[in-house]
């Protein structure tokens, strides 16, 4: 028998940013929710994130969701009582070659109808606005309303707020399996007993595939460990997040300066991940490969020193889009996982949209491109091996 306390309207499996935000927004719909996390809320991909709140460059049909999320980032203080250090300090993509500049211009034109205004800035105007740029920079695509936040704070903040609003947050309780029992799902954990609800959301990040497969809906997800690092502090003078526009593998590095002065960076090659051991793998030589591109993007960085590197386990889907929305097989089952390295920005929006979808049947923004149904007919094996990532 499942104890009464372990029953709810909705069970959420996985307490990353997606799960924590969903729990929070479900409470605003008045639904009872239990968030079940294997370790501590936010400790996996979310905690490791670079912290980019970036919309530019996203898959266009994802922009409505990203816009919704961006609006929520701006309201975090009011919603949660803390802002997770969100700073709408802008985001620039820096092109060093005409071919890259042309791509940025083309994207800007396509993004406009979605309500994302990007400024293309060159020459003296660019240098005046962004004096720290390398002399070799040709053009920047500036997204003034994007920015960054502290990824270590976001998920715990959502979980605490959800708890204050009446959700239950169960930590250090690995979910062993999900089974169907009549109209209910039964979720077994190690250490915290079993839970029961008519609705389950799988938001287990890179581990989402294992659950989906068990439930008869396999997806081509590969786990990878993107590599981040941070330098010692220098005086704060680089407000926007910066990314190097390059289509050559390994060159696409990005960085942001936090107000404390440190420069956080990431990009380039991703290492494999150990899903079973729940460990991101890190190759120190990869850090060395990032360094020249960082110094190209921001020459003053060449005088700094890296003080720490890290990684996290992220789920990448074969078509580089997440799995979001209702199951195509089982009523009451929902998915939100596999965010392909861009889920941090989306987190609040994913939570709000999934809660809307679960509570009302309408997510509020189009989620069709992310439906798990797209893989119902199977997928090429190479797609599940991360062929598109290398």
């Amino acid at each position: 028998m499942t104890p009464e306390a372990n029953r709810a309207d909705v069970l959420i499996i996985g307490g990353g940013l997606m799960g924590a935000a969903t729990a929070f927004f479900l409470r605003r719909h008045g639904l009872s929710a239990i968030l079940i996390e294997r370790d501590l809320v936010g400790q996996a991909a979310t905690n490791a994130s670079f912290g980019n709140i970036r919309r530019q460059g996203r898959f266009l049909p994802q922009l409505p969701l990203a816009n919704r999320s961006r609006a929520l980032w701006g309201q975090l203080g009011a919603l949660l009582g803390e802002d997770a250090e969100f700073l709408a300090s802008g985001h620039i993509r820096v092109a060093f070659e005409e071919a890259e500049a042309a791509k940025l211009e083309a994207y800007a034109a396509q993004a406009r109808p979605y309500g994302l205004e990007l400024e293309m800035i060159r020459g003296p105007a660019m240098r005046e606005r962004f004096p720290f740029l390398s002399p070799a920079a040709l053009m920047v695509s500036h997204s003034p309303q994007d920015g960054h936040a502290n990824p270590r704070l976001a998920a715990p903040a959502f979980a605490r707020a959800a708890r204050r609003a009446g959700a239950r947050v169960v930590e250090r309780a690995p979910v062993l399996g999900i089974t169907r029992d009549g109209v209910d799902f039964v979720v077994e954990t190690r250490g915290a007993g079993s839970f029961r609800a008519p609705v389950v959301q799988v938001s287990a990040g890179a581990w989402g595939r294992a659950f989906a497969r068990e439930l008869g809906e396999d997806v081509p997800l590969t786990a990878r460990s993107p590599q981040m690092g941070v330098t010692e502090p220098m005086p704060y003078r680089i407000p926007p997040v910066m990314g190097l526009a390059s289509s050559r593998p390994g060159e696409g590095v990005y960085l942001r300066q936090v107000k404390r002065g440190n420069i956080v960076f990431g990009g380039g090659r991703r290492c494999p991940a150990d899903l079973e051991g729940q460990r991101a793998l890190l190759d120190p030589a990869n850090t060395l490969r990032q360094l020249p591109f960082l110094a190209q993007l921001l020459p003053p960085m060449a005088r700094l020193r890296v003080i720490r590197t890290w990684s996290g386990v992220e789920g990448y889907i074969g078509d580089d889009l997440p799995v979001m929305g209702a199951s195509a097989r089982l009523p009451g089952l929902f998915y939100a996982f596999g965010f392909c390295g861009h889920g941090f920005q989306l987190g609040p929006g994913v939570g709000a949209s999934m809660a809307d979808l679960i509570a009302t049947g309408d997510a509020g923004v189009p989620l069709e491109p992310f439906s798990i149904a797209r893989f119902a007919g199977g997928f090429p094996a190479a797609m599940a091996e991360g062929a598109h990532l290398e």
Partner: protein, 456 residues
Amino acid sequence: MAVIVVGAGPAGTRAAARLVEAGLRPILLDEGSRQGGQIYRRQPENFTRPPAALYGSEAGKATALHRDFAALRPHIDYRPETLAWGARPGELLTLHGETATALRYDALILATGATDRVMPVPGWTLPGAYTLGAAQIALKAQACAIGRRPVFFGTGPLLYLVAWQYRKAGVEVAAVLDTSPFAARLRALPLLAARPGVLLAGLRYTAALLRAGVRVESGITPLAVEGEGGRVAAFRWRDRRGREQALATDAVGMGYGLRSETQLADLLKCRFAFDPVARQWLPELDAEGRSSVPGVYLAGDGALVRGADAAELAGRLAACALLRDAGHPVDPLETAHLRAGLRGMARFRRGLETAFPWPGAQAAALPDATIICRCEAVTAGDIRHAAAALDAPEVNRAKQLMRPGMGRCQGRVCGLAAAEVLAAARGVPVRAAGRLRGAAPVKPLPVATRMPEETP
């Protein structure tokens, strides 16, 4: 067979020597510019103080180690000023200047030594406040004192040794204040007697300090290092009878024994276990220095703080273990002999930890405003906030939320104290507060670093 020894102190030097005896040519690297490690640290090339002046009673051993090293030098690939900053299975990433190299290895001996163990106190980050180790290095390597009338406080043999070295160098020592009660030292005597020579030397330093009229107290509780004009001006403490005392001083040296440098073992994913004697998480080792990762061995203070003599034995023993695992013949008598030698050292170490215990409980009493993590300016109050309001059950979580250990030293200085503050705030044993996970680079890595070619 490619073997790398990290650290050219007593442990690393003896390990390398034993490998050479077996016909190997190991790489011996050290981030320092001259071999000798912490204790037999050499003075810069242009300094010419005699060994007796530099190493005191240990001059004979220092000279022997330096001489043996000179003989060893042609038979090893010695790389000074080379930092091992990262690792991946079978490869060590090193840094020399701004050049990185990936060194392949079949086996690795980590002999990375120890650093001061610090318990913060209000004001410990003021200019003029040093660790005992730094105070000693200033004297040994630069021949300069940390102040004109320093107070030394903390606990451990180094407290008395450094104070005595200062006194001998003609510095007026204002006081030597030990947090350990005198009774603890009496209790530890039977264990300390395992090494009578060392015990006697320790007593001699104390006696010499007393004879020189230096104020020496036991069982004190540090209250604050006080500043004036942004520098150390006074030290305040509670004496063993509970009375508050203060002394004007221009510098303090503080330390509470040593903590092992274990990041490389951590990066190589060696298993760690909580050591209740040292109240620290340390790599799990067998009696000969094998870690949980095949091909990775640890020796010396970097594995377990037992002092320089033990480091020499442990270095040799780890090399023997490595050789045996690699199929080289090793005389069982040799390892038995080394192991027997280390047993006495282990007893002595327990004695030291009994005589001079880490005052973990002091952490609970530190005022909220006390800085714990100096890199990130995180206070005891911040850590308590993480522990209570933010519900952080262990140190990595507290670090994510409030940043202790996030800075350039990666918690090497503050990690143990942060764990004590967190454990006290949550009312759990310090073991439950866990340990800060290490991350590359072990020490800061210039962005200008380049790796010319990946070495085969």
